[in-house]
Symmetry: C2
Subunit: 308 residues, 2 copies
Amino acid sequence: MSRIVHVAAAQVGPVERESPRAEVLDRLIALLTEGAARGADVVVFPELALTPFFPRWFLEGDELESFYEDEVPGPSTKPLFEEARRLGVGVSLGYAERDGAHHYNTQVLVGKDGQVVAKYRKVHLPGHEEHEPWRPFQHLERRYFERGDGFHVSRAFGGVVGMAICNDRRWPETYRVLSLQGAELILIGYNTPIHYAPDPGQDRLAGFHNNLVMAAGAYQNGCWVVGVAKAGIEGGVPGLAESQIIAPSGEVVAKTVTEGDEVIVAACDLDLCDNYRKTLFDFDRYRLPEHYGLITSQRGVVPPPEAS
Amino acid sequence: MSRIVHVAAAQVGPVERESPRAEVLDRLIALLTEGAARGADVVVFPELALTPFFPRWFLEGDELESFYEDEVPGPSTKPLFEEARRLGVGVSLGYAERDGAHHYNTQVLVGKDGQVVAKYRKVHLPGHEEHEPWRPFQHLERRYFERGDGFHVSRAFGGVVGMAICNDRRWPETYRVLSLQGAELILIGYNTPIHYAPDPGQDRLAGFHNNLVMAAGAYQNGCWVVGVAKAGIEGGVPGLAESQIIAPSGEVVAKTVTEGDEVIVAACDLDLCDNYRKTLFDFDRYRLPEHYGLITSQRGVVPPPEAS
């Protein structure tokens, strides 16, 4: 089995509040088709690819519920997955999941045969729980979603694949927990508003930080990282584009150049992971968990006592 | 008390095998003097600043022992610390420490009053234990040093300061364990051979990786990071320069441009840490140690079972 996985990052431009699901699905199918034509083994779509990033609005009732899917692949997404299976291409897709009374920010991984390989429910939910009218727009992920049960990996496409979503990528623990399970390819969808209301001084750095955390995650764990944006001005709110595929060296090997629907493809040689995992980052030889205790024993900062 | 700490990174060019300690000390005093003249509150010297990076040679007996210090400040380093005290400047200095029969790769932090604030003994010792003649040069840190007892912080210069040494900076756990203790300023000395014998494909990336890990460590923990090189061609082996001071945003605010003795100074406003620590990286609100268990329960990679 070849260790080269051809990965397509299918960046999706704005999805407006009133966009019919079928219209969005047509766009995703067009991206899928292009990815397949360019040789992709798997096409990766962003977080909440089927809908606008609705946590930016304070919503209740039917409109809020209309953004969730009860089943994926399911009635409204079937044409995408059927086409993927016909083309022999895997799919990773982010969507809002409803499981009975529970709601998650979810990413599914489907194999070339159309079978679900894994489902990941976002762990690091950023933003806030209550309506905060002082903000120019909301970030209510902590109101609309419950947290998933953690980071897991799966064998797929000849390697070990992990998933993470948006804010997860800013936490080094995400990559580490996945790489300790052998992840060689980490698929990350994101919606990143460029404006960060709690500290607008960070706005000008949105693209820099996006690359920094994913490149460091790739290098420090010797794995491929695929970051895929829902990009552009959606609902009047500018969202970061800059989808990228990053090698275990930390180098960007492919990057989008628009803020709309755009496919980039890279041949990801999973054997390159060993360049780092069997040398500098040979965890068995060099990691020292006995000195990392605070990472799991303590949640917040505990500073030393003030000088008396 | 002001929350701005003026930090000087005092990069040191090559120290040759036959260089008398007193000659090296004169160079360090010249760097200290320049740092003080440029307003530094603390001058940070690199790892093993008093000697060549002797783990590159397979050594035994008297020559090996000649590279260690029994006491710092001590007889051979007294003039540096006396001058620092006279100038009212703190010092962080890397050196090879002998404590009876024990040997460590150590960095000391001395306050403006000449008192030792903290001593850090390197935890992540890279390289190898035995002579490996196939290498163009050795990296025998695991032969010449024992591991320290972990990462600690101290109150100094109006803030919370942590130290790490060289290879420590490549591990995200280093910064995290320090920031969980409140570190706002992390001082890191390094000797980084540009040639990495186990995978020479990494050589061209030495500078990129150096910045990547320290910038990610700064941003993901909302702290200042000061990286100081022993730089240039020492003992015939090219060492990375590129000393730099990095803000909590991950941005480089000062960087050396030579491979020799060179001072850079930056005004590090420790209050900038809160821009990240009280927003996106509010650990109390957003960290989820219950999902990070593998980081401390497991040392190496445990991949999922092979498909049957």
